[in-house]
Symmetry: C2
Subunit: 382 residues, 2 copies
């Protein structure tokens, strides 16, 4: 097992709280598992770095076979481009700001990184073409297809679809590379069977869109999907060339709820201390500034809990019923009792914003701290 960072001889119990922990063995197992899924279905893996924002973890993903990374935010993509450690970066966001795109192209040229953009509007084509022209470059562009989340992308039956593809293909400074989707509505699924359906449907939509585009005379080199729930549940990868899951590196309470992970697969957790107690709640020192207030991804409220706490007093994890900025409110349950000073381990609903709120990840193996990894690309508000 490969890991990086300064090795420090301390145990989790010696850490001040709250701290965001990453279990090294679980992380590695999660990375290996997804690479195996990609390999077995002969699709390339291009992990989304929004989950970890860590050059260290991206390197572990690349070493295992990832072909590059995906980012949503231009400023996060820049961090990975500038690292000199990533061969190819897809910015899976409908950028329309020429300055942002120009900066991405310039830095990609400088660091010899392949850059791929995502476009879902005429404004996006215009901006990408203008930026590429200014840089004297030719940039690869995907068209995003809306497969059910109804956020970004052009839906299958939208009359804008073919003209958009044709326009990109005709732009001398752009190269139409293929179609891309994000089945984020999978996070609202009630159970694993729904995930399989959503993945099957996504695959069918993309294959129909691909056929339509190719019938119009434009080649579709890439068909890229990306979401951890569908990546882990899917049985159909026919016609797909690439997947871009992100959350799979850590997983979280949402993944457990969706039936795609067990608690012992979750690599990210928070160690916190009980600092106060009353008749209804134990109060721990991890609040929304550590856990975020996410109830699920994309504003999906698939739970009434802000995460769960594993405690010495209960076999099952306890519900975090409320959050203040610096306080987690653990609901008392049964006769079990926690004492002030006791420590708990919290699994958040959504691991990605937790990493974004931390400046570093404390890497642990068993009860030992083995490294500190900076969250290199966090804090890029603009």
């Amino acid at each position: 097992v490969d890991y990086r960072g300064s090795v420090v001889s301390t145990t989790i119990d010696q850490l001040e709280t709250p701290q965001v922990l990453v279990d090294r063995e679980r992380l590695i197992a999660n990375l290996d598992r997804m690479q195996q899924i990609a390999d077995s279905h002969r699709v390339r893996l291009r992990p989304h770095i929004k989950t970890h924002k860590s050059i260290d973890i991206a390197q572990l993903q690349l070493e295992r076979g990832a072909v590059g990374v995906t980012a949503s935010k231009a400023e996060e993509a820049l961090v990975f481009i500038q690292s000199g450690k990533v061969p190819s970066v897809t910015v899976a966001y409908p950028l329309i700001d020429v300055m942002k795109i120009e900066r991405l192209i310039t830095d990609s040229q400088r660091h010899d990184v392949e850059l791929r953009l995502v476009i879902d509007s005429d404004a996006g084509v215009t901006a990408a073409a203008a930026a590429a022209q200014r840089c004297g470059s030719r940039v690869r562009g995907f068209v995003e297809i809306d497969v059910g989340l109804h956020r970004c992308g052009v839906s299958e039956d939208d009359p804008r679809l073919l003209p958009l593809v044709t326009r990109i293909a005709a732009e001398p400074h752009l190269e139409f590379v293929g179609i891309l989707s994000h089945a984020g509505h999978a996070y609202a699924a009630g159970e694993r069977d729904e995930l399989v359906q959503i993945a099957t449907q996504e695959c069918a939509i993309l294959n129909r869109v691909r056929a339509r585009i190719e019938n119009s005379g434009v080649a579709v080199h890439e068909v890229s999907v990306g979401a951890t729930p569908t990546a882990l549940a899917s049985e159909t990868f026919d016609g797909l060339t690439e997947m871009r899951p992100g959350n799979y590196a850590f997983l979280d309470a949402t993944a457990v709820r969706l039936g795609i992970a067990r608690w012992e697969n979750v690599a990210l957790s928070i160690v916190a201390t009980v600092v106060s107690a009353n008749d209804h709640y134990w109060i721990v020192d991890a609040g929304s500034k550590v856990l975020s207030s996410d109830l699920g991804a994309h504003g999906t409220a698939n739970t009434q809990s802000y995460g769960v706490a594993f405690t010495p007093v209960s076999a099952n994890p306890l519900r975090i019923a409320r959050l203040s900025e610096e306080h987690g409110w653990i609901e008392r349950s049964g006769d079990a009792n926690l004492r002030i000073g006791d420590r708990v381990r919290i699994v958040p609903n959504h691991a990605c914003p937790v990493a974004n709120l931390a400046d570093q990840l404390v890497v642990v193996s068993g009860s030992n701290v083995v490294a500190h990894w900076p969250v290199t690309a966090r804090g890029k508000v603009r």
Copy 2:
């Protein structure tokens, strides 16, 4: 009007988005207003810095008459102690970690800052006394009273109350300074009248507790309350010596909803750009990584919206119905239309986590950018 930071000659329209803006004139008016309330009721103002985490804004508060600042997180308090610009700091959190307390005492001694701690348990007394003894210091401690939020603090009728006070008063390295409360349940109020009731009740509870403690022979020098809704709505400050509101500096959609502010009082907003559109939503480039997912404070869900967007196409602000990490989903309303590339101004539900998510605040006056203030104390997870 006094302000600091490098002056830059640019307008809001020229900024890349998303950016967190602070309207200088509104900020100053909010700071002046709260100082006037404190002065008129003859209570001291000790603002909570969790809202802004900015040394620049703390200085504006101190210049107007604030006697010091309040922090919840030991690590944020340290930033203000180490700045050398704050005479007195209250850490309004039930610290039980001797190391954290020792660090606070040591740095307070070094920078000649008065330090006040908050205690609500025997573990808290033991930790504070041990740390103070190690530093050869005598530290002031409040006992926190639970006035209805049911988070931290000892309730009025709790048999632990008097023994806790007595124990602090008897510790040679501690000095019992008084009682402190946070009426955070006010954020769940439906209307302004409820805020008045909660403030009146808080005041009555604290005066009864003060009388009980003084009858037992221990002097109560300070009776400290702190929450923006009660500070702005309250009619009764009898017997109080200090208030510790924080959010009043910026205000937000929650303050408007509670009837303690109008939209034109809100000093913090986010400028964002429409990057995509579909039949149901306009998608802007400010998501939960800028706005947070807070529906209210303390996990209170007093709205179904993640903030509101002021747009050129609608007289009333539009609802942000969903959030992804990098996307705000503005619900389409009526026939009005936004175009890709249009800019919107978002007022978040809760300003405090927004400042925490940003590395800097862009200070504006009208449509001009006049300064950049670092969010000095952000990112202190532990």
